[in-house]
Amino acid sequence: MIPELGHYALVLALFLALVQATLPLIGAARGDIAWMDVAKPAAIGQFTMILVSFLALTYAYVVSDFSVLNVVQNSHSMKPMLYKVAGVWGNHEGSMLLWVLILAMFGGAVALFGHNLPPTLKARVLSVQAMIGVAFLLFIIATSNPFIRVDPAPLDGTDLNPLLQDPGLAFHPPFLYFGYVGFSMAFSFAVAALIEGRVDPAWARWVRPWTLAAWSGLTMGIALGSWWAYYELGWGGWWFWDPVENASFMPWLAGTALLHSAIVVEKRDALKSWTILLAILTFTLSLIGTFLVRSGVLTSVHAFAVDPARGVFILALLVIATAGALLLYAIRAPSMKMGGLFAPISREGALVLNNLLLSTATATVFLGTLYPLFLDAIDAGKVSVGPPFFNATFIPLMVPLIAAMSVGPLLAWKRADLAGALSRLKFAAVLTVICVLGALYAYQGGPVMALLGVALAAWAFFGAIIELTDRIKLFRAPLAESWRRAVGLPRSSWGMTIAHAGMGVAIAGMTGSAAWMTERIQVMRPGDTAQIAGYELRFDQVEERPIANYQAKTGTFTLSRNGEFLATLHPEERWFPVSRMSTTEAAIRTNWVSDLYVVLGQEQQGGTGGYATRLYHHPLVPWIWIGCVIMMIGGCVSLSDRRFRIGVPARAKRDRQPTPQPAE
């Protein structure tokens, strides 16, 4: 009964979305307030119905209702509760349901909290948002219904892919989708603005919080995904330039560009048509990401649903949404007025440079990801593009970006004094040199590129800090004065400082892992000791025991340094009998500056009692994720900025009209 209710609610949501996609749009064109106001209850109703549907599916998973095909295919009665719930979105149908749930949630949030939006813009935004909703709801109901029953019901399920049974991955999709789908809001705002034919600073101010929220979610989602790859795949790598990783990384790059160009629209009323285009492209990249993953056009470890019929549907959806928006753009954008002029050396100029580099980087990743597909389509052969391509093209684009990142915020709007900004950064430069010398001392003979990486990381981090101390006049004014300035500083500027500093921390981590990682692969018998990076690791024993839905083979290693005991490590190999797959669980000992990583491999054949073991020493690796979390915190702090909540236009209106006036 409950699954049928979920199915029914989903169909109801589709009809509500149809109403929301049409009536408010017509109302906005005619100037009919009543029709426009349909948007709010429709958006909230649509969200509620999808939530009911999602909860119905979750219920089926929690009680292990094996009369539902989706539960049979992706769950098992022995599975821990966490993964029963995570199983809801650990499969194609459920993850699409989560997709529309988040889409409707964003729509509902605009309906509820968008009081300061002009009524026509709000109506149009919600209509566009509902059009996307209609398309995806149709997609789910027609090709990926999660509520299909099986009769007779099997006794137990076939279990979720063991690789996905992991806390890191359990929460990876919700964050990732929050980001992907959040960019739909920027898209809806852009299309609504094109329909209105008006883009002004107020528009940029309304778009920015939604973009910020999506960006923060996506940052977290990508970080969780790469953390998972790091400890679960057991190879010690954290980024593989895998097509599915790239699919999430491209919207992130474009979204980062969008965040920055929206600032120019908001503050200076310039770069308008570019920002609109970027908003459309960012969401398009999210859709392309969904298309790539769901259709199986490119295969990868993460693609757990591959079905051409669904591919055709998503492609159609992608074409209608993007081609429609770009057509509207081609018609409307040329008539948009150019805004304020600026000199090349200025804050605007720096932000344009940021946009150029980020969009080129996006294009590079895009080309590298899709090149095999392009060649195949014209029968030019099958190739694969690996990490060497991305490292050779992507990194050179990031170097000037990071170098400019510290300078940009110190430049004035319109026309700036580059020499002055650089001289204010002299402390950052000194600290950077100290860091490089420190790295040189600690790791004699490391690659030269590593020193560049350290320099960029330090420059980004200290540049961000210097910008902040400069603004609050730390050490130049009395402390009380600095404190007052720090408190009075807008949250958005705190957000920027935090996010930029986080980027520096993450770069340090990436550099450390790429340059100074050490690896030992050997066969060890219990009692053997291996040395790595000044640590001794003694292999004590291996024991096998059944846990929940898997069989664990747990190794015990004693870690010490100069004979002094540090920790006991337990790497594991897990065998999942239901799905007949095994996973490796690396044991990681972190001191927040470096990781010691141990993987227990397979037992050697021939009964010698030896096990293949892999040991890695990863300097600075934890900083990659610490940096990402700092960036996300920066995004959230910026999101809490007062001006997003207060909305200047609303206040201006209130000032003019202290009391509501009766209609004439």
Partner: protein, 180 residues
């Protein structure tokens, strides 16, 4: 003229969508090789290492093994090298190699740096044998069954997911056939 710039994104997207539509009809995981399920071509290659083994078609029979085509000048080979090391050292898979159009001293230095996962290495200095194998770029990796037939081919570097998803399951099933 200025209008054209605004139409450009739409034009580019339409081309892209066309590619996607064609792409949907293809399966990227199938790498075409005329030699799949055929016996390995007849060949004999001298050993690369003075005290090592060379490679000849007769030696590729009797057990399931991998043949990897590599060169010291090939960047993707560096990427896949740790993966091959792990396959050989940990999974106990026999990996043999064809060293393609390479200077022996370079290849030897390269192996000294990164380790040698190969049970035997044949030096194919003029690339003739590789042509018979249908090699059209390094690296390439072939799975050979116990009867000396090519069963699977990977073009480009062997990545961890490729190993987990295709190579190891295939080797397991081929070895199973052998025992059963």
């Amino acid at each position: 003229m200025r209008r054209l710039i605004y139409i450009l994104p739409l034009g580019l997207f339409v081309v892209l969508a066309g590619y996607f539509a064609v792409g949907l009809t293809r399966d990227p995981s199938v790498v075409p090789s005329a030699l799949i399920d055929k016996p390995v071509p007849e060949f004999t290659l001298p050993p690369l290492l003075k005290d090592g083994q060379g490679l000849a078609s007769a030696e590729l029979k009797g057990k399931v093994q991998l043949v990897n085509v590599f060169a010291s000048w090939c960047v993707p080979c560096r990427v896949e090298h740790p993966v091959l090391m792990r396959l050989a050292k940990e999974q106990g898979v026999t990996v043999k190699a064809i060293n393609y159009k390479d200077k022996p001293e370079d290849a030897i230095r390269w192996l000294n740096q990164g380790g040698n996962p190969y049970a035997a290495i044949g030096a194919d200095q003029d690339g003739r044998v590789s042509i018979d194998w249908g090699v059209y770029g390094v690296p390439e990796t072939y799975v050979i069954d116990a009867e000396g037939r090519i069963r699977y081919k990977v073009v480009g570097p062997v990545m961890p997911d490729e190993v987990e998803r295709h190579i190891l399951p295939l080797i397991k099933s081929l070895q199973g056939d052998l025992q059963g």
